[in-house]
């Protein structure tokens, strides 16, 4: 019967494949991919033809009139805002009659008469002030010179004098602006000068500071409040409720528990969140007298994981049961790590697998192998694109921020729960901003949008 099923499925799929092949074979002889590109090519040829007519004919065949080189009317050179005192910025409103053929060149000299060193050039279609808004101060809803943020103003940053020689703080530099069309060039009448100065506060990040302080303060406020009133509500997270069940089951079956911290380094917050949960799991494992396996991908995570598990066993009053060999370094390579972990799953048959932290393409390889061994699996990640794989193959999945809430949920420690409350408040604020901002932008009022743009 088994053979029959194999045969039947093979026949069904091979037939499907054959049908597909038959359907497509009509197309197979045709050079299909050429079609869109032929059109593209034609267009390109047509454009090239147009260029010949517009650009070259008058210049080459007739005694062409003198080429007009437009110049901007007002140019300024000033210290580059918000830097370490090694930059100047040239700004000007686009010249009347600017064309694509126009290029600007900036030269720097030690004195008003040169000698001039060419620093760089750019076509009139590039280097817009609007694209470099991060250099400019932002304060709440107001951004200095917001009028200059449209694509009407050019800006060019000078940070070195060629060959990687930086500008010196406090030294006056002279700047010459040249506009050229083809071989014809004109200099801006005035030679301008400015001195680079060092700044001690990046005004472009004022809004970020306001937000960071407000949000940080909200969290700290709720933490302080939790100290006074420790009875905070936290919604049920099934994946975390199942931690005890998973450990209990592994203990009953006499099989180990596998805990993974993800594939990122200690500097990544999902790894820290995973390590926090490991601390709680280790304590429970020690209480249940089960065994824990923690293969690590990062050497620093390894040393931290060893400390955490050791502390977990000590806190549970079972320091003797701690086995440092059960927390080990496997490899630093992503897929070799996946292969190694799959090997452990197949050989040691853990009854519970915890997959916490950051995962990339190896997520399904790990979770599907775990599912194959029949283990109860609890995953938790903020890698959104891996969530579908975990949801499909694991018994429980902590989605995004649930991973970060896990530590609070498992410990029920009021201070950590308080931070969750602060986080929720910030979320409410963001939701209100999104709704109000969307409505306002729909009706053409853009100040909330500008505020968030100024954050970047």
């Amino acid at each position: 019967m088994k053979n029959f099923i194999r045969l039947a499925t093979s026949v069904v799929v091979v037939l499907t494949l054959l049908l597909c092949s038959a359907a497509f074979s009509q197309e197979a002889d045709v050079e299909l991919p050429d079609e869109p590109f032929a059109a593209e090519g034609d267009e390109l040829e047509a454009l090239e033809g147009a260029d010949m007519v517009i650009g070259l004919e008058p210049v080459m065949e007739e005694a062409a009139p003198a080429v007009e080189v437009p110049l901007p009317t007002h140019v300024t050179v000033s210290d580059l805002p918000n830097d370490d005192g090694t930059g100047l910025v040239v700004e000007f409103e686009k010249a009347p009659g600017e064309t694509e053929a126009l290029t600007y060149t900036v030269s720097v000299g030690a004195g008003p008469d040169g000698p001039w060193q060419e620093i760089g050039g750019f076509p009139a279609t590039k280097k817009w002030k609007e694209e470099a808004r991060h250099y400019y101060p932002a304060f709440f809803l107001f951004q200095k010179g917001r009028a200059g943020m449209s694509k009407n103003f050019h800006m060019f940053v000078i940070q070195e004098l060629g060959d990687n020689v930086p500008l010196e703080t406090g030294v006056e530099y002279f700047v010459r602006l040249t506009a050229s069309v083809g071989d014809v060039s004109r200099n801006y009448a005035e030679i301008l000068s400015a001195t680079p100065e060092e700044q001690w506060f990046d005004t472009g990040r004022t809004n970020v500071l306001i937000f960071a302080v407000l949000f940080g303060a909200t969290i700290l406020y709720f933490i302080a409040r939790a100290r006074r009133d420790p009875n905070l509500f936290i919604r049920k997270i099934s994946g975390l409720d199942a931690v005890d069940e998973a450990i209990g089951r592994a203990t009953e079956m006499g099989r180990p528990i596998l805990y993974l911290n993800g594939i990122d380094t200690l500097a990544a917050l999902p790894t820290l969140a995973a390590l926090n949960i490991l601390g709680r799991v280790a304590r429970r494992v020690a209480n249940y007298e089960s065994s824990l396996i923690v293969p690590c991908k990062d050497p620093i995570v390894l040393t931290v994981a060893q400390e955490i598990v050791k502390a977990g066993y000590t806190d549970a009053g079972r320091p003797d049961a701690y086995n440092p060999d059960s927390i080990f370094f496997l490899t630093e390579d992503q897929f070799s790590y996946a292969a190694g972990v799959c090997g452990i799953m197949m050989r040691d048959k853990p009854a519970a697998n915890f997959l916490m932290g950051y995962y990339a393409a190896e997520s399904l390889i790990l979770a599907e192998t775990g599912a194959d061994t029949g283990a109860i699996q609890i995953a938790g990640t903020d890698a959104v694109h891996q969530l579908p794989f975990f949801v499909t193959t694991c018994d429980y999945t902590l989605i995004g921020e649930e991973l970060y809430a896990a530590s609070a949920y498992l410990s029920r420690e009021p201070l950590i729960l308080g931070s969750l409350k602060g986080q929720d408040m910030a979320k409410v604020f963001m939701m209100v901003m999104i709704i109000v901002g969307t409505l306002l932008v729909t009706f053409g009022i853009a100040f909330i949008k500008d505020f968030f743009l100024a954050l970047g």
């Binding site: 060092e198 050497p299 040393t303 959104v384 921020e401």
Partner: protein, 210 residues
């Protein structure tokens, strides 16, 4: 001693956390120099951590070999492969045309590609086993998944050009909406955990108690 185990790490996390926070808002030379120095130290520490990794790797596998546990043969292969790759790497460098380069191209590359390729098999078997429309929500997910899957490859374009347009719409609208929602939640949670760590409220990651 207790101070260095308990309080000092918390203090260090607080000082460095605050310094880096302030540094973000200060563009001066001093601040830039501090950040570059910090970055250099991170690279140095990461380099030294490799020693722990190697020690752990050898200790773990030697232990398995000594105890003759199930599958200890793999540990023998690991140690032999580790030593010979280390020697070849030091002597010849990993460049095309050297013995180490040969190993890279003809052993490492195919083995890695094989591991990645197993994904195709796992996706098929997971889809067959677990991708079921048990509820209305699951049915919606299933349909969206099927449309995106088929709309993203030439066969979808062949069946109907609208399929790829619809699949793009699903990706760029409902999918993106959900994605952004999760992302915002994650970002806020990350700030909260950062505050907890900087202020020493969360210390589990240091191997300490609550």
């Amino acid at each position: 001693m207790q101070f260095f185990r308990k309080q000092f790490p918390v203090l260090l996390a607080f000082v460095m956390g605050m310094l880096l926070f302030v540094q973000y808002f200060v563009p001066s030379k001093l601040s830039k120099g501090f950040y570059e120095g910090f970055a250099d130290w991170l690279i140095v520490i990461a380099g030294f951590a490799a020693i722990f990794a190697i020690a752990s790797l050898l200790h773990y596998h030697m232990g398995k070999i000594r105890k003759r546990v199930l599958g200890y043969g793999f540990s023998v292969i690991t140690i032999v492969a580790f030593i010979q790759m280390l020697v070849l790497g030091f002597v010849f460098h990993y460049r095309p045309g050297t013995p180490a380069g040969w190993e890279y191209q003809w052993l490492f590359v195919p083995m890695q590609a094989t591991m990645f390729a197993t994904l195709a098999f796992f996706i098929a078997s997971a889809a067959f086993r677990a991708f079921r429309a048990r509820t209305w929500e699951a049915l919606a997910l299933l349909l969206a998944g099927l449309i995106v899957m088929i709309g993203r490859v030439p066969i979808g374009e062949f069946i109907s050009p609208h399929l790829s347009t619809f699949s793009d719409w699903i990706l760029n609208n409902p999918n993106m909406a959900g994605y952004r929602g999760i992302l915002l939640g994650v970002a806020l949670a990350q700030i909260a955990i950062a505050v907890r760590i900087i202020f020493g409220i969360e210390r589990t990651y240091m191997g300490g108690g609550d």
